[in-house]
Assembly symmetry: C2
Homo-oligomer: 193 residues x 2
DNA sequence: GATGAAGTGAACAAAATGTTCAAATTTTCA
DNA sequence: TGAAAATTTGAACATTTTGTTCACTTCATC
């Protein structure tokens, strides 16, 4: 197993354990145990406990992002692509228990103000994905010629709000309905008639 | 609120928190927080953390015992009493989440060998309840004239084994069926024909 | 079997936690 | 009301836990 794979495993295990006990109550040794190694060895891969946490979360977020990327890359119709991107992104956390739990214990992972964003690079990439779909829609003459940058920010903020409402505050079913409805309205708002 | 009530509340809260985090990961301060007091104050009520744990568990066990006691005290028919005692005792943990969780994290609470029993006094009282039902059955001429002391120990051991199988190892539904069946067979074994 | 990479476990410093207690606060009751 | 008793606090202290480092061992590769 090369270093890359090893890192992946370490962050997977770390995320599981952080989800189980919360940041403060997990010891570096708990994670080492989960991996069947000693804690000293972990320090060949990360700087300190905080670093381990942040990289574990980052890997979780990237995994999420990659999944959405894969699910839209082969879609021809840009409207379909927009809807799928929204639905897949939104639904993802219902399946990733560890990441969801960590997010619940540490909502600062998803900052409402992008100034205090610990994962700004990742979030920027997510926004890029959204932006590129919007741009494509415009270029193909399907979407109205809106200000892409501002709209991207707006839609991303709405999306984050839904994630928080649904998974952190767990306002369940009705929020899901609202999301579907919102997606539909926004797509119609985008479309040229 | 008098000292008695206060102690009850403290042990209730402690059991909840110990269930949530496990013994090692709960801080005395977590329990104080749950009670809205400072940790220093807790030491007016218990000797140390271990003492707090043991008394919290003990209170949980006594609550269980009391519930069973109440549920059989007004039953006239001794067979009915025997069955009810078994069923209520066995089913109790499915409702007491805290006690169940603590038991799962610390199975030594229910010792298979009574020599290493931290709660021997409580278990002895439970066995007394069982013994008194058996004795009554014999005195009324309903049960065969068995050796009550040995039978009490035997039945209690079987009962503890079922508790462990069901709630610690969570071997669910099929174990429940087995318990019902076992109860039926034992009662028939006891009855004079 | 020499070389570098990976891993260990003991040592240490720093942080967290358990425990005590003098002082502050609240309650009790004459 | 106001003094005495009971309760609670919060800071201080001792102990334990935990994060982090590193000299050394083990393992893998050539």
């Amino acid at each position: 197993m090369n270093r890359e794979e090893k890192l992946t495993r370490i962050f997977e295990a770390a995320l599981r354990v952080f989800a189980r006990y919360g940041y403060r109550r997990t010891r570096v040794e708990d994670i080492a145990d989960e991996l069947g190694m000693t804690k000293g060895n972990l320090y060949l891969y990360v700087k300190d406990k905080r670093d381990l946490y942040e990289k574990a979360v980052a890997q979780g977020l990237l995994r999420w992002q990659a999944m959405v990327g894969r699910s839209i890359e082969k879609i021809d119709d840009v409207c379909d692509q927009f809807l799928t991107m929204g639905r897949k992104s939104y639904a993802y956390l219902s399946r990733d228990v560890s990441l969801r739990t960590v997010l619940i214990n540490d909502p600062s992972i998803f900052p409402l103000s992008s100034r205090e964003d610990q994962f700004s690079e990742i979030n920027r990439a997510s926004m890029d994905m959204l932006r590129s779909v919007l741009t494509r829609g415009i270029q193909e003459g399907r979407f109205r010629e809106v200000d892409v940058d501002h709209l991207t920010e707006l839609l991303y903020s709405i999306y984050v709000m839904f994630i928080i409402k649904t998974y952190v505050k767990s306002e369940g079913k009705s929020t899901q309905k609202m999301f579907e409805q919102g997606l539909d309205i926004i797509l119609h708002g985008l479309l040229k008639r």
